[in-house]
Each structure stands twice: as C-alpha cells, then as structure tokens.
C-alpha cells in the first residue's frame, strides 16, 4: 500500500532513477565482494568509495534543487550545511578513536592535547554516542538554516541579495572553523578516523556498507523531495518561485513556506556531508569555501534545475569530469573548464541535460506521430 502511494508520486523519470539505484544496490556489492580481483568485472574498493563520494554530491545537489529549482531561493551557502553535517559525524569519529591517538589520551582528541585543552569542551559532549551524533547531523544545519531563514525571509530578502548573504554565511563559518580556539581542530580539521559503529573505516566491508548507505540515503532523499514537490505545498513553492507577491495576496505566508523548504533542504545537505566524511576520511574548514557552494549550483544547472533527477545526474557528471580532469595533465585548467561548462549550459541548454533530453524526445515523438498521420491519410 505504501509502495503504491510512493509509485503514484513518481514520474517515468523517477522510476528509472530508482531502478538504477536498486540495480547499483545489488550489482556493486556483488562486483566488489564476489567477483575475483583479477576479473575485468571486479569493482575495486577505491572505486566504490569514489562512487560513494559522487552520490553524496548527488544528495547535496538534490537539496539545492529543492530550494532553488522549486522555490527560487538561490542559496550559495549549501556547502555550509554539508560541512556542518560532516563535522557532526567527524566529531563522533574523533571520539571513537579513544586512546588510540598519537597522544593516547582516552578522552581528548589529539588536536586538543596538542593545544593544551584540559577537558572536553561542552559542545563535544554526547558525540561519543552515535544516535546523538546522527541527530546533530540534521539538527546543526537545520537550526542554522532556521535562524538564518527566519530573519532573511521575514525581512523579505530575495534574489541576488539573499544569494550574497548565503555566501557571507559560509565564508564567516569558514573563518570561524579555521580558528584553533573554536574547538573543531582549526586548520587541520578532523581526521585520522579509526572506527564507525565498531567497524574499521578502512575495511573494504565498511567502505561498501557506507556506499550502500549513501545509495539508500539518495533514494530516501529523492523520495522525500518528490513527496514535497508533488504535494499541494510543493505547488505553493512553485507559485512562490514564479509570482511571490501573488501568492501572498492569496493568503499564503510565503516566509513560512520558504523557511520549511530551506530547513528541510539544509538537513538533506547535512546528511550528504555526514555520509561524505567517513568515505573521504577528513573534514576541514575548506569545505566551507564559498567556491564549493557555487559548484553545487553548477551541478544543478548542468543537470537541469527543477527536475530533481537532473540535479543528481548533474552532480555525478560534473564530478566525473572533475576527477578525470584533475588527475591528468589538464589539472590546472579545471576551473576554466568548469566556468566554461556553466556558461555553455546556461546559453545552449538552459534546461540542463535532463530538460534538453526531454525536449528532444518530445520533438521526436511529434515527428513520428506526424509521419504516422501522413502514412495513414492517403495522398490526394
């Protein structure tokens, strides 16, 4: 019954998307664990983790598409929510190290010993307990988004002004997290993780499990986003995007709708960050870099804004290109390539990969229908 309700909310594109996720859910573990290492079909663990990383970006892109594509809020600060989710899980991973750190302190992480901390700062309390850390993965970005959105949306800051203050937000957080006395490891961030839930983060089995968890999180995030955008509230969001003041004159409290979608999206970004950190093994303040948040916008634009699936595909495609580019001789030119990609998609494919594909299919169907008609009616 529930599965029927879910299927009813999906379009064809969504079913294919979930189908691919399901296939990967079966295929990747088999190809990684069961197919022998020498076989051309074997998927090595480093590749599993790389794909896991892309999937985290796909969740982040989905989060941005929810606010930007459907409500017109161009957030240039989603990297901050991603990083906060990452720090929350990073703090848990630090506490799991226990006495195995270089300094062997059972309570204090290495960087605190190094900086002469005498005791654990109060805001680290509870992070040794996974459910608490998992809650903070959502609460930390959620609360920040709530406070920020409360003020910004109530005072009706929109458009480019809103984008600029979201950039300022992530920049300010970057500067704050760079400081050693903030208690989050400063410049170096959090790293040298050992275990997650009692399993070694380096072990192939754990890496595969993290990949699977990320796939499931992507599917769940997609279903959540889809449920929101197909609901009546989702229609209000689109109404706000296209004619904000008209929506107000119909009696909708626009600022509350914006706040809801902004907070939900920030939490989704936090989840992405939390899955990312154990797979890459580090979180540091550079994740707050304003440029990171701008990259997310490019992924969504390339894939197709306001399509959800397109955002996820855009994130994967652009990051695939980035990996290819930055591991070769062309590495220094990546940023130029990224800029060019953005300009070209904006000019040539304003609806992104997905939108352009849909338009092409539509045209082809029309042509076929026309041809069929011509064949059916005898020549005069």
């Amino acid at each position: 019954m529930i599965s029927q309700a879910i299927l009813a909310r999906l379009d064809g594109r969504g079913r294919i998307f979930l189908g691919v996720i399901l296939a990967a859910l079966v295929a990747v573990p088999v190809l990684n664990m069961l197919v022998p290492v020498g076989s051309p079909f074997h998927v090595p663990t480093w590749l599993v983790s790389l794909m896991g990383k892309y999937l985290c970006f796909a969740i982040l892109a989905l989060a941005l598409d929810l606010v930007w594509g459907y409500c017109g809020i161009l957030s240039l600060g989603h990297g901050a929510f991603f990083a906060l989710g990452g720090y929350a899980i990073g703090m848990y991973l630090m506490r799991q190290i226990g006495p195995r750190g270089v300094y062997g302190n059972p309570i204090l992480p290495d960087f605190m010993v190094f900086l002469n901390y005498k005791e654990l700062p109060w805001f680290w309390y509870g992070f040794d307990f996974f459910p608490f850390a998992a809650l903070m993965v959502f609460l930390a970005p959620g609360i920040l988004a709530f406070v920020f959105g409360w003020f910004a949306f109530r005072s009706r800051v929109t458009g480019v002004y809103l984008s600029i203050i979201t950039q300022a937000l992530t920049y300010a957080l970057m500067l704050a997290f760079f400081r050693n006395d903030m208690g989050f490891g400063g410049n170096n961030g959090l790293t040298d993780f050992k275990d997650i839930l009692g399993f070694s983060v380096q072990a192939p089995g754990t890496r595969l499990a993290l990949f699977v968890a990320t796939l499931l999180a992507l599917a769940a995030s997609y279903l959540f986003a889809r449920a929101v955008v197909t609901s009546k509230a989702g229609k209000v969001l689109v109404a706000v995007r296209d004619a904000e003041s008209r929506t107000r004159f119909l009696g909708f409290r626009v600022e509350r709708y914006k706040l809801f979608v902004f907070v939900a999206s920030a939490m989704m970004a936090g989840l992405a960050g939390a899955l990312y950190v154990p797979q890459v093994g580090i979180i540091n303040p550079s994740e707050f870099q304003p440029g990171n948040s701008i990259e997310v916008v490019i992924w969504v634009a390339v894939g197709g804004r306001g399509t959800l699936v397109g955002a996820a595909i855009g994130a994967i495609l652009v990051n695939l290109a980035k990996t290819t580019f930055t591991t070769g001789a062309l590495a220094p030119y990546w940023l130029f390539a990224l800029g060019a990609l953005f300009v070209l998609t904006t000019l040539l494919m304003p609806k992104g990969v997905i939108g352009t594909y849909a338009a092409w299919r539509e045209k082809r169907r029309e042509k076929l229908a026309l041809a069929a008609n011509a064949a059916a009616t005898p020549a005069e």
């Binding site: 689109v238 008209r246 009696g251």
Partner: protein, 250 residues
Amino acid sequence: MNQRVTDYLLYLDGVSVAFDGFKAINSLALTIMPGEMRAIIGPNGAGKTTMMDIITGKTKPDDGDVIFNGSVDLTQLDEADIANLGIGRKFQKPTVFEMHTVEDNIRLALKADRRVFTTLFWKDSAGEREKVNRILATIRLEHLREANAANLSHGQKQWLEIGMLLAQDPKLLLVDEPVAGMTDAETEATAHLLKEIARDHSVLVVEHDMAFVRELGVKVTVLHEGAVLAEGPLDVVSANSRVIEVYLGR
C-alpha cells in the same frame, strides 16, 4: 478593539500616501456597504491601483484610517493576513501562476487552511473537485483545465484570475481593470460574470471602459489626483463639469 466602529464593510478616511513627495493618494475617503458593488473610474495616474495596494497591505498609508468589516484596522496587517480576512484581489496586469495548470491555479486559490503542514499532507476530495469544476464552468475554461496558464490568451488569463478570486470566496473583491485588452464580446461576458458574482459578494471594480461601467449599472466614484472628485450614478457623474474637464479637457 473589536468594537464595531462602522457598519461599512470597507471604510477609508483621510488616507494619504506620498511617493518621493508626490501625493499619489490625497486625503481619500471612500465607503462600501456590505453586498455593494462599486465602480471606480478616473484618468491614468489617479491613484486607483495605489488605493487597492493600500487596502490589501502592499502599501502602507502615511496617514488615515482603513477599516474592514467595521472594526479591523487594515493598516496594521500584512498581505497574507488581509487575504485571509476575506479580501481578494485581481491585478491590473493579469497575474496567474504560469507554470501551473489552469486547474491548479484554481486549486491553490481555493479557500482552505493555508498552513505549511496542512498543505503538505493535503488530500484531494470530491467536495473540492466539485467546487473546482463549478468555477471552471463559470469562467468557461473547462476545456483548458490541463493547459499551463502560460498558454492562455490575455482575456483567458483575466478570467482565470477572476476564477481564482471566486475560489478564494472573499467577502470583498477588488478587481483592477478586468476588461483591459478584451474584445467587445469578452467585455460583455465579463460584465455578466461580475454582476453574477456581486449577488453574494461585495465588489470594488476599477475600469476605464465606459460601456462596461454602464453595463454594470452601479454607483460610480470618480478618482482624480488621489482624491474623490465625484460620486453617484454614472449619468450624473458624467454630466458633472469637473469630471468632463478632467477626462476631456486636459
């Protein structure tokens, strides 16, 4: 505070607003009785749209009283509050949700709980479908219910917006130039529609088209330079020498 201070549905007195020193509305007084339909005419720039902006909370007046339903001070409320009190508005330039279908435009406007979590879990009901069908029939857009509003003609958008007003089921409808850009046949049909609506709603309609105003056959208020110039039946005000001067003798 909740004491009824007037019997009028809408009561404006001494209302003024200035934009950069220019008085768009100048000590305006206007009253509408419950159930009344009123036509507002006046040359371009007379302040007709600005008056609607003030009533609906888009513009805050510098001065004056704007009282709804005998006791509610509208100057203290914002657009959403005022809409939920039962004041609906149709804009001069038709504004519908272009990316939504005709049907969804009506559904969004339909009188209902507007809170986020109620709309998030909103379920379609037979009663709602029935209401939507009735409105679509009234505005004659049944055949276009699945069409995106962006694809409607100008006149159809005007009608869709009137349909959205109906869906809101407000106590007072503010209708800004509903027949601008319509053919004669469409204009006549719109006059019919508004008269139909006026049977169980109070309506304030701004229009330039004199044939249309004559067709409505209601009391007319002439606005000029942000204040009332004349008020009464159309034949009387159009014989007023000041009105003739303002309209014709520039």
